[in-house]
Amino acid sequence: MRIAVVMKLVPDVVEELVLSEDGKRLERGDIALKANEFDEQALEQALLLKESSGAELTVIAAETGDVDEMLYTALAKGADRALKLVGDGLQDGIWNAQYAGILVDVIADVGADAVLTGVQANDDLDGQLATWLAAGLGWSFATVVSGVEAAGESLIAKKEFAGGLTANLRLPLPAVLGIQASPEPPRYAPISRVRQIMKTQSLEEREVTAPAGSITVLSLRPPEKTGGAEMIEGDVQAKAARIAEVLAQQGI
């Protein structure tokens, strides 16, 4: 089996989110970007599949920011190849429909018969990448997957619903999976190992052209305050004492 893991950078929402002058998007140069956490889960799931069934694993990311470290880290964790997609306009960020449009050819060239990516990302306003890709490729698929096993010409995927209910699905290859969680937490690649990989291995590059996006954002802004919480001030002891009082008022 040849697995492609598609990753993308997303705004790190713990850091400050700076809006562009026109108020329609984030100022990409002024915000922190990080690997989509669900893509990290997809990578871990793919590494587990590689270990259990000897798959070959290619990690792919469009250069919508500095993706080198993310790709080298994937190599350090055990991916066989890392492919960086470069081209005009990518640095401003792309919508998932555009990303999928680019990826259809790339995935064919990589010869992948399974694509794993995160179930969602915090900025996928035009819908999720896995299903854009499944429709574009015409492959079988499942989203919200939290466990995958290789079974000959198929994958057995565990899909999650609400309340702990799951479905076991047999997906004939080729297949696209939107991964919610890997059975194991993402492994850690020591910095020293990533540095070493940077010296001994290189990223493959491929020029791509993104198709036009179809989303028109009119404005982007923090949610309006809807009353919100009564904020408790003071040092930590004072705050704790006030919350203890609140709890007592609640009859706790």
Partner: protein
């Protein structure tokens, strides 16, 4: 707006709440439009959908992602609706964007409301972990993935079946269904407790869960959590609150180091009293909380446990 399709989630033979919510959402957004319910499942799941003018139904059992995607695609192709609504759920995630891509419709996700815009509509989408709301123009022929809670299930559920029910032939599916897995018996049922001490990724490490356990004990409650804490293996799945976990409604919900992503809020926003503690004053959890504390949970939790012990003598 002439016609709206609403996709009805059916899992294990049971229609989800979201289907009724979408029917209500559609009526609020486009009262004049014809409303068509679409779905795949047993006939019995049509009960309660009388709020729709019509239904287009595929009789199917089990669950296959491409089947729901193809059913919605076929319905869109046959009906050419102006607007299609699917839930932001595990089923909607299989059906929505896939059907949009297949039928050449636009796709907009995480929609919480619609507003008029020059004779057309604009969607408000909650993105970036709940920290931003995007207003997005809704072109004619769009599939919207609508967040849970955007419509009212109570208003949307109307006894009886739609006046007219058409059948959609079961489309070919590549996936095959091999059975449902049910959650295992739980050591603690977090839906039955009045006080939940809920920890998120901000708790930092498995070893710090103990601090929350001590606090829960002082309060006579139990520890619950956000999803990443469960995925990291720090707490069992039964303790998870949210979209893919449990829906809870305790008297008091302490959200400790939880950012307040929409998938988490879905499971706890109806708690009577929500107390949030987070180092980030802009964390979306403070929007739904009744009381907020900006502080490090690792300092705050022991301080609160101590305060409670002092009060209790």
């Amino acid at each position: 707006m002439k016609k709206v399709l609403a996709f009805i989630d059916v899992v294990d033979g049971q229609p989800g709440e979201i289907g009724y919510e979408l029917l209500d959402f559609a009526r609020q957004a486009a009262p004049e439009a014809e409303l068509v319910a679409v779905g795949a499942g047993p006939q019995a799941a049509l009960e309660g959908l009388a709020g729709a003018d019509r239904a287009l139904w595929t009789v199917a059992d089990g669950y296959r992602p491409d089947l729901v995607g193809e059913v919605l695609t076929a319905a869109i192709v046959a009906e050419q609706p102006d607007l299609v609504l699917v839930g932001s759920t595990a089923v909607g995630m299989d059906a929505g964007t896939y059907a949009a891509a297949k039928s050449g419709y636009a796709s907009i996700a995480y929609v919480r409301s619609l507003e008029p815009l020059d004779g057309s509509l604009a969607a408000q989408s909650v993105i970036l972990g709940g920290k931003m709301v995007a207003r997005v123009a809704v072109p004619d022929r769009t599939v919207l993935q609508v967040l849970a809670g955007a419509g009212s299930a109570e208003r949307g559920r109307v006894p009886g079946r739609p006046a007219q029910v058409g059948t959609l032939a079961e489309p070919a599916a590549k996936a095959s269904f091999e059975g449902f897995g049910r959650p295992e018996a739980q050591d603690v049922d977090i839906t039955r407790h009045d006080v939940l001490v809920s920890v998120g990724r901000g708790i930092g490490d498995a070893s710090n869960i103990e601090l929350a356990e001590e606090l829960a004990e002082a309060l006579g409650g139990v520890v619950s959590s956000s999803r990443p804490v469960v995925d990291a293996g720090w707490l069992p799945k039964a303790r998870q609150v949210g979209k893919s976990g449990n829906k809870v409604k305790p008297k008091v919900y302490l959200a400790l180091g939880i950012s307040g992503a929409p998938e988490h809020l879905e499971g706890m926003r109806d708690a009577a009293c929500i107390i949030a503690v987070n180092t980030d004053p802009a964390a979306p959890i403070f929007e739904v909380a009744h009381y907020g504390v900006v502080d490090d949970v690792l300092d705050f939790i022991p301080a609160l446990t101590e305060s409670l012990r002092v009060r209790q003598g």
